[in-house]
């Protein structure tokens, strides 16, 4: 990548970004992600913001429908006039360091593109499953002026726990279980979730999955954690999920 003074001038970029310049935001996110000039970046970002948007993490195993759900959620909030930022994470190949980042195509849409910003990033494997420097990236996004920020994690199990550090609300997405194994029991993820969603609720086994997960919740601290069912295919449960997210954003558990 050629070194371009204009494109790496952090003070200038931050100034532009604060004025809602989306291309400056994009460039700063790259710099934040790389970890280079972390101090310089941190120095330029405002220490206090008038209002801080809630950071909502969507976590859960592969194939549960995180991206589709996020597509519905972002559309919902965008249609209400909110500016929404999304960080969508996918795992890096441990061998080559390359990554296939395909979540964008289910989240971004032409209808909402002026309101919804999606950034795809990779998570270094073997680490905690959270993208490196995500805290800095989130600081940048908060300074931009989004009304709401979503982070979609890889669903690596341990990384989902780490997301607790940076998110205000952690939503665990499950899908109806067809096997006996309750895959989400491992790695303590249930203890960090503020909300559990059983997606693809139109498929068989949904009710059973809800029944199975409920007794596992609230065991840690006694605070009630809700279980919501959704079906992106049928467009059901999305409103309820949005309301739950809003409630939690206002009065988070942590």
């Amino acid at each position: 990548m050629p070194l371009d003074v204009h494109r790496d001038d952090i003070p200038n970029l931050v100034q532009r970004m604060r004025r809602r310049d989306r291309s400056a935001l994009s460039r700063l996110l790259t710099l934040a992600s790389s970890g280079q000039q972390r101090e310089a970046l941190t120095a330029e970002l405002p220490t206090q913001l008038k209002s801080t948007p809630p950071v909502i993490a969507l976590t859960g195993g592969g194939g549960v429908g995180k991206s589709s759900l996020l597509g519905s959620l972002t559309t919902h909030f965008a249609e209400r006039g909110e500016r929404v930022g999304v960080l969508a994470c996918d795992p890096e190949s441990p061998v080559t360091g390359g990554a296939l980042l395909g979540d964008r195509c289910r989240i971004a849409s032409t209808a909402t593109s002026d309101r919804v910003f999606v950034r795809s990033l990779s998570t270094v494997s073997g680490q905690q499953g959270v993208a490196q420097n995500i805290d800095l990236m989130l600081d940048v996004m908060k300074a931009f002026g989004f009304d709401r920020i979503f982070v979609e994690t890889v669903g690596a199990g341990q990384g989902d726990v780490a997301i607790r550090q940076v998110a205000d609300v952690v939503v665990l997405i499950l899908q109806p279980q067809t096997g006996d194994e309750l895959q989400w029991e491992k790695a303590g993820i249930l203890e960090v979730a503020d909300l559990v969603v059983v997606n693809k609720a139109d498929l068989p086994g949904a009710a059973q999955t809800v029944a199975d997960v409920k007794p596992q919740l609230g065991a840690a601290d006694g605070q009630g954690v809700s279980v919501i069912t959704t079906s992106v295919a049928k467009g059901e449960g999305i409103d309820g999920l949005c309301r739950a997210i809003e409630r939690l954003a206002v009065s988070p558990r942590k």
Binding site: G63, S68, G102, C105, R106, P176, T178, P204, A233, G235
Partner: protein, 526 residues
């Protein structure tokens, strides 16, 4: 050194009787025209009647394609096969901003019943057999077709033809998708249901493996996924309360004819035997007509190369041979210059001649299932059947077809197979003449079909006129009806028929359906 088929299946240097342990020809093969139909679905096969030579056509405005249709009928072709343009395939009208540059380009543009009437102007729909290749909005197009036929006074009970209407393979491979998986299947069944009752000589679905193969699957996957799709449609029809022997005889299939001759033949034979077993033993169909798998074949588009295009003629000839040895009911042979351009008349003629030489000069039609009894082919046929059964088990393990679709099971398998094949090509483990072997530097340049801007603007203009002249009250009312029945879970076909008569457009119908059914964006499924 290990030798494999195009699909990567290991092949022995020699096959003997030892490779057919427990071979019981009476039960495993049967006679042609007898369960399980391995050798062919008709008693006399090509000795009685040759396969139908049915070549695809469609371009520009309906009047342009109509001209070609009339010409072909004059030349003695009895079957018409319609290709639609991308906007129509995706449920968009010619005046939608997303249609710009695509109207009438890769097929004919159809927006309203007026277009359907123009497309089949002067054609006796009770005589000609009409095939329409369309999927996501198939039910809308079929409604327009039936409405047009009705307006022209044709007897619906005598309409003959096929509409592809196979949405599941779109989710696996071709991506002509509008609605989510389950509601999409509901529309497929609505169409099958309506036709079974009112257009009984029509094939309401062409369960396709062609496109799955084109996306990069192996031959066994092509077979397994296609039959799995067929099973799902059958089950949904049964859930609807339909009588299996009423709708099954009209289910038709569509397979690819790829390069590896023996693998393809084994595939077709395995297909017939498996389907017969499923229909009779698992679904309890009583009528023999329900057990017979009828299929159309098309030579593999993905095997055509842009370099040294004349070599494609040779490829197509071998592929056509496979289809004939495999007992297809009808066949389309690709033209040598057909990558993405409309083939020249010369090339189209050569493609037809390919079939004619095959049929009349090679002698392969003199006897039925000539490869039957070959140790190699019978062994491959068995392998195919087993792989397909294993695949059925995997799909069940996912929670059934819809769950497997939503999990990306099919897409991932296909992408993996495509990747394995590409690696074999890139590493020169597999050779492609002209591409990674026997290249020529003096290759003639490729021609690409040029879009005629006038076609698009004429179609858009005519659509605007229609929208001005039609009764907007009637349009709104019929769209309300479509939305209402779609919401209520009733068969949407009758409401679409009504709407067609009031000159509602394809996109308006699709939007009304989407209101109740939702829209869908596929994940890559690499």
């Amino acid at each position: 050194m290990q030798k494999t088929t195009v699909s990567g299946v290991a092949i022995q240097p020699l096959y003997t009787v030892a490779d057919l342990e427990g071979f019981d020809p009476e039960h495993e093969l049967g006679l042609p025209g007898q369960f399980p139909f391995t050798r062919g679905i008709h008693e006399s096969m090509y000795r009685g009647r040759l396969w139908t030579m049915r070549q695809f056509a469609g371009f520009g405005r309906p009047s342009d394609t109509n001209e070609r249709f009339c010409f072909l009928l004059e030349q003695g072709q009895t079957g018409l096969s319609t290709a639609f343009d991308l906007p129509t395939l995706m449920g968009l009208d010619s005046d939608d901003p997303r249609s710009v540059g695509e109207v009438g380009r890769l097929g004919v543009a159809v927006d309203t019943i007026d277009d359907m009437l123009a497309l089949f102007d002067d054609i006796d729909l009770n005589q000609a057999s009409v095939s329409m290749t369309i999927n996501a909005p198939a039910i809308v197009i079929m409604a327009f077709y039936v409405a047009a036929a009705r307006q022209r006074g044709f007897d619906l009970k005598k309409l003959r033809g096929t509409i592809q209407n196979d949405i599941l393979k779109e989710f696996h491979a071709q991506n002509e998708i509008v609605f989510p998986p389950e509601p999409s299947v509901r529309l497929v069944v609505d169409l099958i249901d309506f036709c079974t009752q009112h257009v009984p000589r029509w094939n309401p679905v062409s369960i396709s493996g062609y496109h799955i193969r084109e996306a990069g699957s192996t031959a066994a996957q092509e077979l397994a996924f296609t039959l799995a799709d067929g099973r799902h449609y059958v089950e949904q029809c049964l859930n609807r309360g339909m009588n299996i022997d009423a709708f099954s005889p009209r289910l038709s299939f569509f397979f690819n004819a790829h390069n590896d001759l023996f693998e393809e033949v084994a595939k077709y034979r395995a297909a017939r035997a498996l389907w017969a077993e499923l229909m009779r033993d698992e679904y309890g169909a009583k009528s023999e007509a329900s057990w017979k798998l009828r299929f159309h074949a098309q030579t593999a588009g993905c095997s055509l190369q842009a370099v040294q295009p004349e070599v494609n003629l040779v490829r197509v000839a071998y592929q056509a041979l496979a289809a004939a040895l495999g007992g297809c009911q009808s066949l389309h042979t690709n033209s040598m210059d057909e990558t993405l351009a409309l083939p020249s008349e010369h090339a189209v003629t050569l493609a037809l001649r390919t079939q004619q030489v095959l049929a009349h000069e090679t002698g392969v039609t003199n006897t039925i299932d000539p490869l039957g009894g070959s140790y190699f082919v019978e062994n491959l046929t068995r392998q195919m059947k087993q792989e397909t059964r294993d695949c059925f088990g995997e799909i069940a393990g996912q929670g059934g077809m819809i769950a497997a679709v939503e999990n990306g099971y099919f897409r991932r398998r296909i992408a993996d197979a495509a990747f394995a094949y590409q690696r074999a090509i890139d590493s020169e483990e597999k050779l492609l003449v002209g591409v990674n072997a026997f290249q020529q530097s003096d290759d003639p340049s490729i021609s690409v079909m040029q879009i005629d801007a006038a076609t698009e603007s004429a179609q858009v203009e005519s659509l605007r006129d229609i929208k001005r002249c039609r009764s907007s009250d009637a349009v709104l009312r019929s769209l309300d009806d479509v939305r209402r029945v779609a919401d209520a879970g009733e068969n949407v076909f009758p409401a679409l028929l009504e709407a067609a008569d009031h000159r509602v457009t394809v996109q308006e119908c699709v939007d009304a359906l989407a209101h109740a059914l939702g829209r869908f964006r596929p994940a890559p499924g690499w």
